[in-house]
């Protein structure tokens, strides 16, 4: 099968909100292999800066695999091989001279299940800035912790118990703590892998509200199984199927008049 497939653009005009001048992340002919399994096939995608891009598709379609390419999380899997090119701000992130630890500070990640460190709320957030040497004094660190918790919409709820364990918070609070932890190191891109799938609707709404605020300063890429969530939170949506990026475009268009039959079938619940 030809690995270079033509991706349909859902919007005729091409230019997207936030896509304006230069995309933040550019993927060109990205292929991922897990051993013999060809998991991602010739993906080309431009991710706009300071906007939310949703990756959708059925289980095993490659959307999480693609997400994990963007901060080189796939490096941690020995049998995984990535080809093609991914650039962030025009810098090739698979360049061998690139510092992966630095990259992962620039590209934060939030996972499906909230995974706070078994430490205090304060330490969860302070850990990153401390190891990256972002704060010279305790006061500066306090400032970063409070600021990050505030941006994550959690500060008011936890300000009186910063020394309590992060694992003692509710699921939704834990997830916001993880977001605070991710933004504490001042990343440019935040990857979210089904961040709300373990949360109740209220906690989900809070995270979505938060994403709405975070998009002002960060480039967010979210993998979600909830079509409604993708429709609510994102400016652009990319649909993956069987390792291919099938269609990508403005979210409004993707959910009201997708171009590709496979997209239509998936979002309307017609996949067998």
């Amino acid at each position: 099968m030809n690995s270079m497939v033509q991706v349909k653009q859902s919007d005729a005009e091409g230019a997207a909100p936030g896509l304006g001048v230069k995309p933040k992340v550019i993927a060109r002919d990205v292929n991922v292999f897990y051993g013999d399994k060809h998991a991602l096939k010739g993906v080309n995608l431009d991710v706009p800066a300071r906007a939310v891009t949703a990756l959708i598709g059925p289980s095993g379609c490659g959307k999480s695999t693609f997400l994990r390419c963007i901060n080189r999380m796939n490096d941690t899997i020995p049998i995984c091989r990535v080809t093609g090119k991914i650039e962030i701000d025009e810098r090739d992130i698979y360049d061998p001279t690139l510092d992966v630890v630095q990259l992962r500070a620039r590209v934060g990640m939030v996972f499906q299940k909230p995974n706070p460190f078994p430490k205090s709320i304060y330490e969860n957030v302070a850990y990153g800035p401390r190891i990256h040497g972002f704060a010279k004094t305790k006061a500066e660190l306090d400032e970063i912790v409070a600021g990050s918790l505030r941006k994550a919409g959690l500060f008011e709820e936890v300000k009186d118990r910063l020394q309590e364990s992060g694992t003692g918070l509710s699921g939704g609070q834990q997830q916001r703590l993880c977001i605070a932890r991710a933004i504490a190191v001042n990343p440019e891109v935040i990857l979210m892998d089904e961040p709300c799938s373990a949360l109740d609707p209220i906690a989900t709404a809070k995270i979505e509200e938060l994403m709405d605020e975070l998009r002002e300063n960060f480039t967010i890429i979210i993998v979600t199984h909830s079509m409604q969530q993708a429709a609510r939170v994102s400016e652009r949506t990319a649909f993956f199927h069987l390792g291919y990026l099938v269609e990508e475009g403005r979210t409004e268009e993707m959910f009201t008049k997708p171009k590709d039959q496979r997209t239509q079938d998936y979002i309307t619940g017609r996949f067998g």
Binding site: F255, I267, T268, G269, R270
Partner: protein, 237 residues
Amino acid sequence: MNDQHTAKAFDIDLQDIARMVAEMGGLAEKQVADSVDALAKRDTTLAQRVTAADSAIDALQREIEEKSVLTIARRQPMAVDLRDIVGALRLANDIERIGDLAKNIAKRVIALNAEFPPPKLIRGVEHMTDLVLEQLKAVLDAYARRDDNKAMAVWRGDEEIDAVCTSVFRELLTYMMEDPRNITCCIHLMFCAKNIERMGDHATNIAETVHYIIDGNPITERRPKGDTTTIPALTGA
């Protein structure tokens, strides 16, 4: 097309909505035909039946609305399914209006009582009705078959109805000027003609909605217009 959802109950919901819209359309067609029939045949009994039958159309519209709202709440439809449901709501609205216009013609038949205009004047209205019924049938068919070409043909085909309407207006004006005693019945007839012309407009609205359901884009080009009734016919007569 609504038979491939993983959730079969969703298929059934959408099919139910489409079936109700089709049923409503069928009822409206009959109401239009009956109302003008009552006019031509001076049949006030038939006219009474038409006014009474309108509630069935209204009831179907309510049912479509309820079912649509419930389906949206239950299934959160996307893309073509969403357009299907939003489209059904709009179609039900237009069909309900057509029903109302037919009912209004029937009421005028009752009001005219014995004072009927001469058959030659009614013939123009009948001709308009034939054209409108053709349009209505075609567009409901286009909806049932999801046939965009057919819908677009209806959308473009409204001109002739408008033109006939204009000529009916001229005729009625002349007749009224000949003898002021004709005015009452001619005014009623004029409203009947206008009602039928409005039905034609609703048929084109339906065509637009059908196009939207199928294509996903609204029609942006301008519709050909043949309606010059209100201004030139009145000033030029």
